[in-house]
């Protein structure tokens, strides 16, 4: 079962992180990882640790911001939130992935006879 999970395509993790922060608001790293796993219906193979490389990359590009804050039971955790530039980037990336998904969908819908 475990080896049935999808490998993440290059660059998709960054988009997933941005989208998660955009949809849900500020989250800590573990929260983001869990959300991605839940939303994907546990379909993607995610080493939760890899999310931190993605987070630092997005941060350095200025697409997300980080701040130490208090978690549920009042412990200190680092919270990430999407920035205005991040939203712009997300919009662009989302459009790109949408188009790619559409094209792939249409390609794969082709039947052997060449007819729709």
């Amino acid at each position: 079962m475990a080896n049935q999970k999808l490998d993440l395509l290059q660059g998709t993790l960054d988009v997933m992180v941005l989208q998660t922060l955009h949809a849900i608001g500020p989250l800590h790293g573990y929260g983001i990882a869990r959300r991605i796993e839940q939303i994907s219906g546990n379909q993607v193979l995610l080493n939760q640790g890899t999310i931190y490389a993605s987070l630092v990359r997005l941060q350095q590009r200025g697409w997300i911001a980080a701040e130490w804050g208090a978690s549920d039971n009042n412990r200190k955790a680092k919270f990430y939130s999407i920035t205005r530039n991040g939203r712009k980037q997300l919009a662009a990336d989302a459009a790109h992935w949408q188009r790619l998904a559409d094209v792939m969908g249409r390609m794969l819908a082709m039947s052997p006879g060449g007819q729709r």
């Binding site: 800590h28 790293g29 573990y30 929260g31 990882a33 869990r34 080493n47 939760q48 640790g49 890899t50 931190y52 490389a53 993605s54 630092v56 990359r57 941060q59 350095q60 590009r61 200025g62 978690s71 412990r75 200190k76 955790a77 680092k78």
Partner: protein
Amino acid sequence: MTTLVARVAAFFRKRELDRDLDRELAMHLELATEDNIRRGLSPEEARREALICFGGVEVAKEIHRDARGLPWLDSFLQDLRYALRTLRRDSGFTAVALLILALGIGANTAVFSLGNVFLFRPLPVKDGDRLTVVAVESKANPEPGQICYADFLEYRAHSSAVFTGMTGYVMSIVGLGYRGHADRLLMSYVPSNFFTMLGIRPAFGRLIESGEGDAPRTGTVLVLGHSYWERRFGADPGVIGRTVSLDGRAVTIVGVVPKEFLGPYNVVELDAYAPIGMLGFGATAGFFTSREDREVRVLATLRPGVSIARAQAALNVIGERLAEEYPHADQGQRVRVFSEPSARPEPAAADSKPLVVAVFLLMVGLVLLVACFNVANLLLARAAAREKEMAIRAAIGAGRKRLLRQLLTESMLLAVAGGVGGAVVGNSVGYVLNGLRPLGDFPLRLAFTFDWRVFTYVAGVALAAGILAGLAPALRVSRTDLNLALREGGRGLIGESGRHWLRNGLVVAQVAGSLILLVAAGLFIRSLSRAQSIDLGFDPHNVLNVSLDPSLQGYTEARAEAFCRELLRRTQTLPGVRSASFAFSIPLGIYNNGAPGVYAEARVPSPSERVPGAGFNAVSPDYFTTLRMRILEGRAFRDGDTATSEPVAVVDQTMAARLWPHRDAVGQRFSYQAASGPFVRVVGVVRDAKITSLLDAPGMYFYVPQTQNYQSIHVLQVRTVGPPEALAPAVEGLVRELDPNLPVYEVMSMEKALEGANGFFLFKVGASFAGALGGLGLLLAVVGVYGVVSYSAGRRRHEIGIRMALGAQRVSIFRLVIGQAVVLLGLGIALGVTAALGVSRLLVSLLVGVSASDPLTFAGVSGILLAVALVACYIPARRAARVEPMAALREQ
């Protein structure tokens, strides 16, 4: 861009960010564990599950760091630290490798710096990169040289289409008297546009101004050279406005040139500058009108965008017109334009200099190559010892690229350190050269500066050396077979020797390279000894020269003659003196008298005929005795030849044969001024001697008595019984007795004087330079052969132990080791001789009296190389022969 800034920032905040990350990851795992407990897992299982979902914590940290900072810089710094540590640990290896590289790179730096001085670096003047030298080749002097003043004015007046300006200078040695003391300076007379065209601004006072002193007999002002001003006047700005005497004429100091302007003549610094009009006074008055008095060194600045070829074409037109107008002087004259750096120090050198520089760059390149091979071999030997270390590194996951990078970092570090050392070595060679005095008392002032060209060159050489020396060993090590290396435990196996072809090949290449260097050195040294054994036509041994110039003290001609007569009389009575005489100039010295034309009496030259010129010297009666020059016919001068008796001359064989081909020269008359006279009578013929040039066949030359041709510069020459220098204090004492204020200069033996620019200077410099490079090559080759032989003998201890246990004799073991050395040396020498035969052809034009394939040189240097290397290999061979079989077999 912002990412890069963030990454660089992260690189420097590593520790803080790591702490942050640790906290964040700990919190992640804590939250995950809690979630899992909430889902009903036991605390241990919950923690385990959290760790599994997370993946490797260290891996996560690593990819986080890679994404965050500058991973390549991190690993580079790591390699650098590691390299520093290993190099420090192996301090013996490091010292040897550094020394080798520093010498190799140093030799390159020195030669390139010299090339920079003579070929590339523009003068520090306005538009220095567009500055050219204009020179003419005339019938009298086939090498491009100075121009007569009248022609200079013509060229200047009609070339403004191609040049923004044209100026010139006339070099001269004069006496400057100030407060009862006189000294000799090397100075220039310049037209008034000299400083403005070159864009020189005064350090103090003013320079020669536009229009000042261009007319004959005007412009009695003087501008001082910077270091002369410091030396003589203690850098006192108050000298401006003071009056000094220049060859007895009062002039006013008006300014000082800036420190960085050494003058337009690249190899010496000029002490002063005066307006050209001053040449109108006294003996040089003919300068402004004579077309045969070629003394102006011409500089011109190209207009932007004008090529040298175009300027050349424009001047050709003027030159052709001049030849038509003044056929007598200018016919057959060819004007040439050189870029200023290529015409250093004299335009005559422009054609041969690139070859000289190329030959020496080739030689030092070879030294560097041999040095690199040597360091490569040292690295290989070390790498073999480190095979196990590398295998372990590879086993724990270092990629091949990573290992390669690490090893190259080591060799690059060596090369950079060697480059720094080399720059120091190279620059010190410059200082040594600047101490040489090929121009009499005037020191060479080569403008050695560590400018960007030299820096780029040294950096490039060091980089190449690092790669060259490090790549092969690094490639070899990084290819190490893991299993083999770990199992073998560093013990050499017999069948393994085939793997050492690389090291052996490097040694063969080293031997070959150093043989080429030795051949070049041998040829230059043989060339020098041939030059030194040339029959000069006079005997330079046991002769002391002492120069003096009574005009420096303002003596009149009569007083100077009385002074010299008395000095000569007293010198001749000194104990240890065989004979003494005066002359105006010394053979193969830096200055000479020349007569543009000599005319045999009663023979009117046809208009198309070229009148031959001749050099001459004014001497006292005992001159020929003192220099041991044989009088072949007639007589030498005697005391009876005085100012009032008939003017006489002694001519050399060449002149006698040329002017009176089928007649006895003695008794004939000739003039060295004009076809119409005045005439002098030939009283003797002297054997030809090398007076003006060491290599050329002796030209026409004659001698006149000083009593009939007064010149204030005198060289007292003393033939001594013992070493000539020992007599110098006594002779100087005599001068002081007669006049305590009269300076003497260039006090040296005639043999020493022969080491000047027109004597053996270039041979000596060439031979010592090539000799040093050859010695360096020999040293490197011997170190290389010794290293590889003793290393492989060491690796074969086990094998040798077995052989001896099986009954091999010590002698045969000795032979085994030496045999390896002989094979390597033999191959190297054979290869080297073949290559040297090809390369040495380049040297042909730089050698005298030695063929470029001189068998004696080739055999000699091969023998030396073989002998020295075999002596070095005796040590490891004896060590191998002394191996105790049991001990060798027992060690692992």
